[in-house]
Assembly symmetry: C2
Amino acid sequence: MAKAPKSPKLRIIPLGGLGEIGKNMTVFELGNDAIIVDTGIMFPSNDMLGVDYIIPDFRYLLERKDLKIHGILFTHGHEDHIGAVGHVVEQVRRVPLWATPLTAGLLEVRLREARMLNETNINIFRPGDTIKVGPFKVESFHVCHSIPDCVGFGIHTPYGIVVHTGDYKFDNTPPDGKPTDYAKIADLSQRGVLLLMGDSTNADKAGWTLSESVVESAFDNVFRQAKGRIMVATFASHISRIQQVANATKRYGRKLAFAGHSMAENVKMARKIGILDIPDDILLDVTRVNSISANQIVIMVTGSQGEPSAVLGRLATGNHRLLEVRDGDTIVLSSHPIPGNEEVVSRTINQLFRRGADVIYDPIAQVHVSGHGRQEEMRLMMNLVNPRYFLPIHGELRHLKEHAKLAIQTGIPQERVFVVENGMVIEADKFGMRVGERVPGGYVFVDGSGVGDIGKAVIKDREILARDGFIIVAVNVDRSGRLMGEPEIISRGFVYLRDSDNLMKIVKDTVQETLTNSNGARNGKQRDRLQESLSRVLFNETKRRPMVFSIVNER
Amino acid sequence: MAKAPKSPKLRIIPLGGLGEIGKNMTVFELGNDAIIVDTGIMFPSNDMLGVDYIIPDFRYLLERKDLKIHGILFTHGHEDHIGAVGHVVEQVRRVPLWATPLTAGLLEVRLREARMLNETNINIFRPGDTIKVGPFKVESFHVCHSIPDCVGFGIHTPYGIVVHTGDYKFDNTPPDGKPTDYAKIADLSQRGVLLLMGDSTNADKAGWTLSESVVESAFDNVFRQAKGRIMVATFASHISRIQQVANATKRYGRKLAFAGHSMAENVKMARKIGILDIPDDILLDVTRVNSISANQIVIMVTGSQGEPSAVLGRLATGNHRLLEVRDGDTIVLSSHPIPGNEEVVSRTINQLFRRGADVIYDPIAQVHVSGHGRQEEMRLMMNLVNPRYFLPIHGELRHLKEHAKLAIQTGIPQERVFVVENGMVIEADKFGMRVGERVPGGYVFVDGSGVGDIGKAVIKDREILARDGFIIVAVNVDRSGRLMGEPEIISRGFVYLRDSDNLMKIVKDTVQETLTNSNGARNGKQRDRLQESLSRVLFNETKRRPMVFSIVNER
């Protein structure tokens, strides 16, 4: 990029991925020109009740009407990097997208679902390509991860190159023979790197992540020993794992079927663009799995995170329309639970055992390895890139803190290491880099068709309802405030009403008594008094605190 | 035990601990005489909304009025082995308890809380003692675990000895110098073991569990490097860990304080009975920690599972009445998250980092090891005991299945290995052992003061409320069924009402329209129609499914 006489400030604004593993999104600005790297979603934690998923808060982009957004660049096709694309395209119309072939294929699927495919266009580049997006020159470089076609970026700025690693590990024996592009990274380093933005996911784990190749020999063991059908569950987008299972299927003379809409779609797309190499003659339609003998069958399924509505979840509860688990089936969970999913994954495994399957999962055999590098790989990346400044990204705060420690150990001065949260602007000019202002960088909850319409107050109410339920008492009173007829009681999630005659009698007595004592009180006051006295009585009787409401109807 | 001319059948009835890690409880019967081993609780999984804890379903004991229960024997003092003692003593009055000194101390605390201390008496024995409980001769043997004074039992029966391991590992260098009693176990084996009941917790993990001693050197590193205060979180009952921290405190010339009621109580009790050796002069009252300099302070705290109301949880959110986290504090989580708690523990760690502490936890340093043996220890136990039959206990189904595989590998024929669930009776007579009838063995939920009064229906309602909340519409109609006045709307957990004017207008229009169309319908029918039309409209508008209720008041 040519240096202007007076260069505008560089501003880097992480809107996601810091303090969390998910919803990655970073804005790079030079004056009024901007590009975005990734627009991901995040899955809700167990206490975000009823939330479907979370997208980044990108109000900042909408408020900066002077900002020209030249494009969104994607590092790879996982949900936490592309999942919010429909929402962003809807709000930032006509912003063009830039992605490698597989990522572009996955973006297309996403955009079609969101009915946003016609609102943008996708520019395809290959790992290693240099692209020009607005005033930004961006050099991509291939990195290994748990999906093919992954890249990191070297973004040229007037103050040096900013290297964004994407999600990476240094796999020296990747199954597709394409290791992380050491040469390209070293080359960027030669030309002067201002800032390294590095994936922090495994910053609290010592050593190196194992190569994807170890999974291959684990699968070999499973395939050699399995007497009946083999089912393998993994992420629908885990194309390299799918390739490995296809290879084993071929080696052992079995046939391969796919169950689960998203996986079948991804396989079709990845075969079409030539990223997945599965010969036609080993494929079997899932509706025909019962036509050949059990020891010839391999089925790849979705639901490795224990999602109850995905294939593995349905198999575990016996609710799949085509398949059921049988004695002698071997089921492999080729995945690791996302934090928060451990419990539901364990339950799924136990249910599959109960149905007669032999279940193979991570501690039992090395049927999965992480897609993210560990501490030694992070140190290697820092030494390869040799940046002046360091910004740990893609991690909970604990990971960012540990990653920062590693950076300081490898010789980056502490004052040049930024541990910040989403929404903190990192600025650069000819004097150096520093932390600047704060812009919004929180969570936007998506629940049903609502985006951002439920917040902490609604979630808090759901928490109370989840713990103790509610009770509503509706009464009719005469003009002097006396009870007329029987109170009507509606309650859910509190006690089992049919077994609670005694408690309901106490409720009715309390209503009668409260109304008598507040004789003559005005409507609103009667209501408050009823709620107070009922809350007190119910807590004394049950040691629970349901939400209590009353409706007082004056006749 | 003298053999009667005709011996009654032996029946072993697991009421807990099979298919779950928790609420351990097993009944041993010879004719009408019985003893019980352990009466534990289990913590609810994230989907058991509002449940405080779970106790075993011991209806069977209450229904068998002919059964003489001679005593409850405890293997050790953890909640999943003693926590239900108050409930059992309340229902099975005057049943005497048998426990080692520390376990007896912890039982006393539990019984006092449950106001059941005067309803029973506790007989104390030492590890290695042989006790006679009713017609049962029981030899105890010491095992290593993560709490001192742990035992397994050799229970004599007319058909051979039944060995119950309790929770164990084979720690060859335990900090208290008391390894698992190999000799006693081998001695039982010499005399003929009918059945081995073995702890399955780590059956899916290869190799050996590390010795507790490795924790000692990890603590040494932490204490040597910490510049400020050190806080260590662990289970309140983890007396051996408390001893290790006290030792390190002394070595490094610091003072030790305890925060958290249960931990302080346990320390007092364990020091009194001589199990915990902490000199008076290193103790510091927690109210006085601000009187000495930061680098002299060690504070042990509760809340290592991220419980929001325990000390560590309060420190993380800044809600503790005495203490707060400061820059320079080192906080050690000497624990491992119980399955299901991973997310809340991660969040706690991140919050503590945010408050300026350096947090040390499991992958960062070996500050915790499991109290349960792994596969090699399980194989060793089987080879030591050399039983005719094997019953894996204390584990989810996947652990029981893996443990069974190990047993078969070590030479126990498959047909003599029982993988069963709670409530399945295992019978023995002179012809051998087999699986018999099924008795109740499920969950009893404790919620507030209610024991067993909420079941699946209430939990299901809480799930719906947690996901989408509820809405209630109350209307007054005249005799011809026409709406009088405005409908009254109460809703929680669904949408944020103040921002939902538009939606509320749609609700009111729907009410008006439905009532007009069902003109003349009877009260009950109007109510149903309102609920149907509102549910439909709300789903169309929001893609959410709140619980919908209506109250129709005819004037």
